[in-house]
Symmetry: D3
Subunit: 130 residues, 6 copies
């Protein structure tokens, strides 16, 4: 199957348009990125995913920039290229500098290395961590 | 092969002891966790890994708590149980509250979901993200 | 190294041709997709892989469409783009509708999210599940 | 950090109790498994996750058993032991026989093998699949 | 579902016994490890998997010890604890020393780190590698 | 964010040039591949990663070809396309023949399959492997 057809606003059903409008209002932009246009092929998944993202990425105990950097960390670990590209852009918009990006990648690379060392040496969890 | 034998300070070679001492001094503790005691079976990997971690986790463009939470995010994504246990403990020590942990996990779960949705819908990277 | 050279029928060794013929006969098609043409660089792996797939994907306790959708679920989780493209096409040929594809992706996305929540909350397996 | 404390119904806040009651009513059971009791430490994640699962796993274009088997396929691929145990149990309850489980695992194993063969041979996606 | 019931030789069907006997003859041992006893619940998967392993792990262009170490590398990357334990034991039996194990783990850890760095910096493949 | 800008020798800071010179001297080549040019955006990560790779890939208990093949095995398992391309090229330069590559891929594919079978059958680790 080809890559998903992208649903443009002009051709979208009302329920899709409503989500697009909420995305644009929440993000203060007039642009919808391809991820949402692809999900719009399934309006129920589009709505559920957007509602969850909106709730999770809203201000809370963690600041929005930290959340975006965590999103990047997961996406890099999963080697998801769309996700790396889009969330790195989002993190930059929220203030991630080059220096911060570089440190982020150093931590992510290191964590992926030590995760395997812990597995291979079959390290028992310390009592203090239980 | 059984889980790795743990090298205690009392039985350690001088080069291992030197690393243990640096770990304890850097972390202001008199305790060495099992990960290092397992790596000590290979003193070169022990030293290299510790030197890298010390450099990467030191204060820089990102604060130490943010770094620990990123470490947790990667470890959860890789489902490495030792790493989840030890870095969650480290993040708590640096000030991660319950509310922060819960938000962190919500972001990590969500990122793992949308990473798969992006893959399955074979979403093209937007020009704006290139 | 470049991407694998593709072995066309015209230039194939007899043992490779025999597998190609079995693929075309089994699938009632006169077309061989690139995966097999790439594996044909190693005739033993070509034969073994085809024999296993033929046995596993044949009618059995699960119907062929369910099997293809499970194949897609695994390929999406592994973010293998060739595999997503080819097995989504195969599932469609066996009757997967748009609505089924969308539900499939919703389940796969959700499973990838809750897998990480289970890991991060370090949930003990219930006695009832043991 | 220790594994998450489990929140029992008796000690739960009203908003957690409301979710527990919906889980028990939907599943026609008087039992809450540990996953939900662990998530209940974060009532917002508990509610959001349960609402999503309830929507996604409800009857639709795919039957509930197929959905559970897809959940198992993803969980096995991610090597998430809690998830394998709980969703295998759920699939059995919905009618998965031993023969079906065995075929499911054969497909999952095979998909994980061919995903790596496709990656390593760097196979180009066929025009027909685009 | 509980962990799989293990099928002992004494209670095994003739087709399972035949595979067990071939395993013991090929490996010159009178012992069957749990992996095969679990797979024996599905005799077709038992036979297919054993036949594939026997063919792939036999002497060829790579020596048997190298093959076992590659098996360990994959198992560590996937964090599969049974597989790490059993293939590390197999590699040791074929001559892997402590020094070799330690170097193996250093390479595996490093590869997992640089894999993420390559992903995050979105490095274009050099012309020379195509 | 676009793919990383590549730092060419002519425009590089002295500390980056020093690493480039060491790479070229160690590898007896006058060519720097894109991975290093991308990492050069973060000179500290460039230096640390190169120093680690140089130490780990140097002659030791394992020969350099075996190490490169293990690197390929991990990269295929992680589906990191840059890493597969570059380390397959490196392994070929060190003497990996077509036959060796094919066997390597057969082992990697098989290991990824049996890793999932071990997970799904929830196999207990044998006493002999502990």
């Amino acid at each position: 199957m080809a890559a998903s057809k992208l649903v443009e606003y002009a051709n979208a059903m009302p329920e899709v348009r409503a989500v697009y409008e909420d995305i644009m209002a929440t993000r203060k932009t007039d642009w919808i990125n391809n991820f949402w246009k692809a999900l719009a092929n399934d309006p129920a998944t589009l709505r559920r995913t957007w509602e969850s993202i909106k709730q999770i990425m809203a201000p809370g105990a963690l600041d929005p920039l930290t959340k975006e950097m965590i999103y990047v960390a997961v996406s890099v670990t999963n080697q998801c290229s769309y996700c790396i590209a889009s969330h790195t852009a989002a993190a930059r918009k929220r203030g991630m500098t080059d220096a911060m990006f570089h440190e982020l990648m150093a931590v992510v690379g290191m964590a992926n290395e030590t995760n395997r060392l812990a597995a291979s040496y079959q390290v028992e969890v310390d009592e203090q961590f239980k």
